[in-house]
Symmetry: C2
């Protein structure tokens, strides 16, 4: 039974040892096949990424490829009542003006930050993912809620016997 | 080119005719293979659903199968700093007490409501999906941002020539 499996392995999750390690040490997050969008791309391009690749958000970068924002499915739906949907070939930059909520800096983190810090940041910002950047603000990965749950469930098996997995 | 395809078909999206139709008329949303959780189930069970079925939220029902709440990946991550994660076999009901944000009624809708109303509700509640219930509050479906974007992109082809799709 799958539930029994989970029970066995995450009973003492998350182990303090994980929480005080860095993303890099834990190798947590998505670093390959990132879907990123340039701020001068159009909303239609974002839409095509969302539908084709089933991602829920795209880091937005400037022409130097540095992180400036994030664009999500929710942002596109937010265009509808403003009637600005007539112009889906506007740029991401223009579309971000229609974002209802007060503008806040995109929630991000560095590979050398502790897992505990990243989790706290996610909760405080009430976001579903952090964009992982290097020291020059280049996007190198995504740390999403899914990555965290997968990690917290699956990794403990490594530090215990894996024979019980059936 | 996929972008050209999108451009052709959603240029005047969303067509007013869609917006003033009901979910039922448009057949929009997910109605099959719903993943739902009972309020007395454990957090571990929710976790297993999230990781196994890749859903991001589960409608929570009482023992009469009526909708009472929704439980998301974000809620589980929210348990971590409270140290309540030690007890992942607590029930969903108990776990919901740890929800950081002020409690608000779960965002829901009916099949006979207009698409425009549902979209407005999603934006106002700042949620990623509405739970679709029948008149007795039984859960019958989910209307998520993904469903909306898929619909808004793919459906217009029906009312136009589909020959241009290549
Ligand atoms: N823009 C993106 N490009 C590549 N992978 C992503 C992107 N956004 C999320 N992911 C990954 O897709 C998986 C599901 O993420 P989510 O849909 O946010 O739960 C996770 O492994 C994320 O790290
Ligand atoms: N609890 C659930 N059970 C079944 N389908 C779901 C559930 N939550 C979301 N979906 C569907 O899964 C797809 C992706 O949804 P989302 O991850 O919310 O973008 C959409 O078609 C949703 O309607």
């Amino acid at each position: 039974r799958i539930l029994r499996f989970f029970y066995l392995y995450i009973y003492d999750w998350p182990q303090p040892s994980f929480m005080s390690k860095t993303l890099e040490e834990l190798n947590i997050g998505t670093y390959d096949n990132l879907h990123i969008i340039e701020e001068n791309s159009t909303v239609i391009e974002a839409l095509s990424y969302f539908v084709k690749h089933r991602v829920s958000a795209l880091p937005v970068v400037d022409k130097n490829k540095k992180l400036v924002n994030i664009y999500s499915k929710f942002d596109i739906i937010g265009l509808v009542p403003d009637k600005s949907y007539r112009n889906l070939n506007m740029t991401i930059n223009e579309a971000l003006i229609y974002r209802k909520e007060r503008f806040e800096a995109v929630a991000k983190c560095y590979k050398h930050e502790l897992l505990s810090i990243c989790i706290e940041r996610i909760i405080r910002a009430e976001v579903h993912r952090l964009v992982i950047v290097d020291n020059d603000e280049y996007v190198i990965g995504i740390l999403s809620l899914s990555d965290l749950l997968d990690f917290l469930i699956l990794r403990p098996t490594k530090s215990k016997s894996t024979e019980e997995v059936s």
